[in-house]
Amino acid sequence: MEILIGKYNYWIYIGLMMIGFYAMVAKKNLVKKVVGMNIFQTAIILFFISTSYKKNATIPIIIKSQEVIEPIQYINPLPHVLMLTAIVVMVSTFGVALAVIVMLYKQYKTLEEDEIIEILKDKK
């Protein structure tokens, strides 16, 4: 029980990731697939941010030259910075994916994967 409640953010990360993964694999609609991809990536952001959290810690800014700097008092800023970069990467992936979807729609006039495959089969 401890491990369920005490680390609930990690369970949410796993849950989100599986939802995203399911959408990417099982959904037929291409936009839903891309949204699933986004959920999948967001889960990773949650994971990284969770790892930087400490109880009763504050933001890593030193106001004045205080007496002693205890690392335990400050949360780790590095995962946040990494995730800023990762968010940029994810947004651009999302953009490219949407652009490709627009191209697909112009070609096939549909966004359902099975219908597209049907059209491709007919052509053959």
């Binding site: 993964f21 990417m24 291409l30 697939k33 991809m37 999948f40 990536q41 990773i44 994971f47 990284f48 790892t51 590095l78 995962p79 990494l82 970069t85 990762a86 990467v89 651009s92 992936t93 490219v96 994916a97 652009a99 490709v100 979807i101 191209m103 697909l104 070609q107 597209i116 491709l120």
Partner: protein
């Protein structure tokens, strides 16, 4: 100079890819010379890096003067320098080829953007290889992948769907890699590869390390299209523009394999893969299945580019097999095969593109009677085919020889037979084609406009064909000056 070349080669191609868009606003005809000029500079810089590394040892560059492990560091040793030289050379050669080939395949107003995206792909690939920081590697991995998705999507009609599938799979791969980075960071608090090499050994027993390794391997396996995860590759490289197929097939998977080597043997020690986890054994079997599968499917294809794509799946299997055999011969064979396969596959895809350029088709049957119309191209095709089969003294023979030696020394008989099986399959495919080209009684269908390719397409093909021979003859020299030093300690 060597120290600064390592950063310049990435920065120049990255900035040039953006500058190119602005040049297009002023004058579209300037884009292509600029594009080739930049890749030429990258080629020279990569040679400078290789020269420096061979003569003076590992090159290190601290970005912004920040001390590692806090700052990002570029570390170039023999393995990096070797792969960078391959990427830069192939990108330059294919760029020369691309001029005529791409004109027929995409609309003229889009050409400058094609050049920009191509430069972005080069920047991403070189960045992956050069960096000494695992998170930085992820960023470059995504830069390269995004450029790759875009380049594939501008190909033939069906390429868009292929590109979409590639996006979905590639993103899963990159995310798994990122998760691996996360787990490594949790347990060590560092992202610098050199630092991690020092920090990780006491933590080998930890479950977190194992989880990180699993995520890394699966993520990279998707990027290099190792058998059951190869689904994106054949469609993408079949329908992409010819120049993109030639460049991407030769470099993207090879760079992925470089990442696999870095993770398995620099980040972790060889004993971690053999004694603590059974990863080496798993990879050997995995690669063996990939070789069998890729070769078998390649037999049944009609489209020449699709045949090549499945052969590429098998070749990826070769290299992964050699890397994971865990002995010196296998490893040397694998690293040598990275070079040889890049040259051979690039040459074959360029020939496929040449055929497509002339007649708008590239099925295996279209090769009938071509020796009359394209004698020079077909000579290059002959040499490269022999190399794919593994006939001495072409390059393909030597790497395969080392791989088989490695498999025998590791007593992996099934893997050794997989290598021989695959060579035989290549022999069937390419002898059938050569028979059509040289001995077929049937005339080529005359309505097609068969002629020798234009000079700017012919030169790269001939260059690569010659390279296959030269690399074969000098393979001993290449091994003793570069590849010997890439073999990890403990082999």
């Amino acid at each position: 100079m060597g120290e600064h070349s390592s950063i310049l080669v990435v920065v120049i191609s990255l900035i040039a890819s953006i500058t190119n868009v602005f040049i297009a606003l002023v004058r579209k005809s300037l884009c292509y010379p600029f594009f080739v000029f930049i890749l030429g500079i990258c080629f020279l810089l990569s040679m400078d890096i290789l020269y420096t590394v061979i003569n003076f040892g590992t090159v290190k560059y601290k970005l912004g003067g920040w001390m590692p492990p806090w700052g990002i560091e570029y570390v170039v040793d023999h393995l990096n320098a070797f792969v960078i030289a391959i990427v830069a050379t192939i990108s330059f050669v294919v760029a020369i080829y691309a001029k005529e080939s791409i004109k027929k395949e995409i609309a003229k107003p889009r050409l400058p953007y094609f050049y920009s995206t191509y430069l972005l792909l080069v920047a991403g690939l070189i960045g992956i290889v050069i960096t000494g920081d695992i998170f930085n590697l992820f960023v470059f991995l995504e830069i390269a992948s995004l450029a790759g998705y875009a380049l594939i999507a501008i190909g033939e009609k069906r390429s868009v769907l292929a590109s979409f599938n590639y996006i979905i799979m590639g993103t899963i791969g990159a995310c798994f890699y990122l998760l691996g980075v996360g787990y490594i960071y949790i347990i060590t608090g560092s992202l610098n590869i050199a630092d991690l090499t020092r920090l990780l050994p006491p933590l080998y027993e930890s479950k977190v390390t194992l989880a990180a390794l699993a995520f890394f391997v699966i993520g990279v396996a998707i990027k290099i299209a190792l058998f059951p995860l190869h689904r994106w590759l054949p469609d993408s490289y079949t329908f992409a523009p010819s120049a993109v197929s030639a460049f991407a097939s030769a470099t993207v998977t090879k760079v992925g394999i470089y990442v696999l080597i870095r993770i398995s043997y620099t980040l972790f020690e060889p004993r971690f893969l053999t004694e603590i986890t059974p990863l080496s054994t798993i990879l050997v079997w995995w690669a063996t299945i990939a070789i069998f599968f890729g070769s078998t499917i390649a037999l049944g294809q009609i489209d020449f580019k699709r045949t090549l794509s499945y052969i590429l799946v098998a070749e990826v299997g070769y290299i992964v097999l050699g890397v994971s055999l865990g002995n010196k011969e296998g490893f040397i064979g694998a690293v040598l095969h990275i070079l040889n396969d890049a040259v051979m596959i690039a040459c074959l895809f360029m020939i496929a593109g040449g055929l497509f350029y002339r007649i708008g088709r590239r099925n295996l049957t279209d090769f009938t009677g071509l020796k009359k119309y394209m004698p020079i191209t077909m000579t290059a095709f002959l040499v490269t085919s022999l190399s794919m089969i593994g006939v001495p003294p072409t390059a393909g023979f030597f790497s395969k020889w080392y791989l088989i030696l490695g498999a025998i020394r590791a007593e992996q008989w099934i893997s050794a037979s997989a290598l021989i099986f695959s060579s035989l399959v290549n022999a069937i495919i390419f002898f059938k084609l050569l028979e059509k080209v040289y001995f077929s009684k049937k005339e080529a269908i005359p309505k097609y406009n068969f002629r020798e390719l234009p000079l700017s397409m012919l030169t790269p093909i001939v260059l690569m064909g010659l390279a296959v021979l030269v690399l074969g003859i000098y393979s001993g020299k290449i091994i003793s000056t570069v590849i010997e030093f890439t073999v990890p300690k403990g082999f």
